[in-house]
């Protein structure tokens, strides 16, 4: 299968998460049916699988579409898809999907002494501050982004 057939299937076709980032590289040796044996046959390994680099724990991994621009300085732009792993514990400098007053939003976690604080990554926006009474929870940790460069 050609790589461009699989990436970001257009038109919003349903793609289960387990199959969305898998592509196979066919080795020539597999398709030779006659003639002398391919010298590559002895070296065939399992195919490269994008799941291996993008998703560590597929059970706990979900995709979200980005609509805002609060993280553009770390190259997360509106329209991107972020891969979010709920099983990871946020650490210093993790990018997280936070639920702030019931609104899902991306933020950078930073440790300030004993406290963890959340930051926007957009120099043109005012600093993000959590005020008294703000309801904050961490939904998951962002591990990667997917961007369609053809659009």
């Amino acid at each position: 299968m050609l790589v461009d057939q699989i990436a970001m299937e257009p038109g919003g076709m349903p793609v289960p998460i387990t199959s969305l980032v898998e592509f196979q590289i066919r080795f020539v040796g597999q398709q030779v049916h006659a003639g002398f044996p391919s010298p590559a046959d002895d070296f065939i390994e399992t195919s490269v699988d994008l799941n291996q680099v993008l998703i560590q724990n597929s059970t706990a991994t979900f995709l979200w579409r980005v609509a805002g621009d609060c993280m553009i300085d770390c190259k997360i732009f509106p329209g991107d898809v972020v891969i979010v792993d709920r099983s990871l514990v946020p650490r210093h400098r993790s990018i997280v999907l936070a639920i702030i007053d019931n609104a899902p939003t991306l933020k950078r976690v930073k440790r300030m002494g004993s406290r963890m604080v959340l930051h926007n990554e957009n120099a043109t926006l005012p600093a993000f501050t959590v005020t008294e009474g703000t309801d904050v929870s961490i939904w998951g940790v962002v591990t990667a982004t997917i961007r369609d460069l053809s659009k």
Binding site: M8, E9, G11, G12, M13, P14, V15, P16, I17, N57, T59, A60, F62, L63, W64, R65, V66, A67, G68, C70, V81, V82, R86, S87, L97, I99, N102, A103, P104, T105, L106, W139
Partner: protein, 421 residues
């Protein structure tokens, strides 16, 4: 000694919705059945407003508006995916599990030392919630019936976990556990037991098994044994072979023309074929039924069914549609406003075991290839991407299930992913 755990998602469908829409947190939420007929899942906030399980939506529409209840259509693509994820988590905690329903799973806990079981269950619960966002309760007991009972009792505990391995603990909980809430006691049996002044699980536990058999057949006897800690039901880690299969649905709007009815029934036959192929089974007859709404008693009423034999057992959609259309042909009568139709089969067999008919003109291999291609296309690009022409054009059909208030299919569609700022 055997030991089972039962884990189930709290207000499961509503919880699935809350994972992706934080605005639903702390608000009363209900999820409606097919065609937005009645409430099939309720959050605790919705229960507190007096909304009952199975209550018709039209009865509570005003209440929902006044109280700000969020009513959602069923989103089975989402619930199915979340259920699958929960079960993957469960499999890390137990070598053997039995998926009992979309939100309930039995787990084998014999491998966990008795003293560690509460901690094990808490860990199971915490991990499920962390990974999937779904809150659960876990009950543990030496029998499935006691695990189920423990699960029910755990719902009222802040910890969400209850281990009923210990007989003294069992006795304490069963003393005031309502008989109607015991697993396997239906409404009819509940009435019989209450008539004998058997109100609580503890009283049923102390009943002579023979007497229970007299009241509730062999099922009653099993329940008494299970309440006494003697396990009568094993873990069925492989789902038992399906005996029967049905596809039935209420129409979004009343059906009054024969062509609509034929298309609707062809659609159900198509779905039946998918189900049979998924389970590797076949059938050699279909029963089609259709009826008007019993709630509109000022209208002429009709309730009919017909069984059509198929020459040999098959799961080929085209054959099923052919048989189903013959049934509609035989049953159809104009002048009625039909509210529901369905297709039912029993005695399913694996296709290989089916008896070949003497003068069979079916091309099995060709049919199997066509069906496999159709299933693959529908699996890949969504249900009903490819349908037999007999089903009609879905978007214009009155029998298309209504999902007017359905949330996005957050986990299975690229164009419906949840959105963050």
């Amino acid at each position: 000694m055997t030991a089972f755990a039962l884990s189930d998602g709290n207000s499961f469908y509503c919880s699935c919705e809350r994972v992706f829409d934080p605005k639903l947190e702390k608000r009363p939420v209900i999820v409606l059945s097919n065609n937005d007929g009645c409430a099939v899942a309720r959050t605790s906030e919705a229960k507190a407003l007096g909304i009952k399980m199975g209550q018709p939506y039209f009865q509570i529409k005003d209440l929902c508006r006044q109280e700000g209840v969020v009513a959602l259509s069923s989103n089975y693509a989402l619930y199915g995916d979340m259920s699958r994820r929960m079960n993957v988590v469960y499999n890390r905690f137990s070598p053997e599990t039995e998926v009992y329903s979309i939100d309930e799973t039995f787990l084998d806990v014999e491998h966990v030392p008795r003293k560690d079981r509460t901690a094990w269950a808490s860990e199971l619960r915490a991990t499920t919630c962390q990974w999937t966002g779904i809150p659960t309760c876990v009950g543990i007991g030496p029998t499935k019936t006691l695990a189920k009972l423990a699960n029910k009792a755990a719902k009222t505990l802040a910890t969400g976990v209850l281990d009923l391995t210990d007989p003294d603990e069992q006795a304490r909980v069963m003393a005031d556990f309502p008989i109607g809430d015991v697993w396997g006691i239906g409404r009819a049996n509940q009435a019989k037991l209450l008539a004998l002044d058997i109100q609580f699980a503890g009283q049923l536990r102390d009943m002579e098994p023979k007497k229970a058999r007299g009241i509730m057949t062999v099922v009653g006897e099993k329940i008494v044994h299970e309440l006494n800690g003697r396990s009568c039901m094993d873990l069925e880690s492989v789902a038992p072979q399906r005996q029967g299969c049905a596809v039935t649905r209420s129409f979004g709007q009343r059906v009054t023309s024969r062509i609509e009815m034929e298309q609707a029934v062809a659609g159900y036959a198509t779905r039946l074929g998918e189900k049979l192929r998924r389970h590797g089974l076949a059938t050699d007859y279909v029963t089609v039924f259709m009826h008007t709404s019993p709630f509109n008693d000022d209208e002429p009423q009709r309730n009919v069914s017909m069984t059509v034999d198929i020459p040999e057992a098959t799961n080929d959609t085209m054959q099923l549609i052919k048989a189903a259309r013959r049934a509609v042909e035989g049953l159809w009568k104009s002048g009625y406003r039909y509210s529901k139709a369905g297709i039912v089969t029993q005695d399913l067999v694996p296709p290989g075991l089916a008896q070949r008919s003497l003068f069979d003109g079916l091309d099995h291999d060709r049919a199997a290839k066509v069906m496999a291609a159709m299933d693959e296309a529908n699996r890949r690009w969504g249900r009903a991407t490819v349908v037999p022409a007999a089903v009609g054009i879905a978007s214009r059909s009155p029998f298309t299930t209504k999902f007017e208030m359905r949330s996005p299919r957050y986990t299975t569609r690229w164009d419906e992913l949840p959105v963050c700022r």
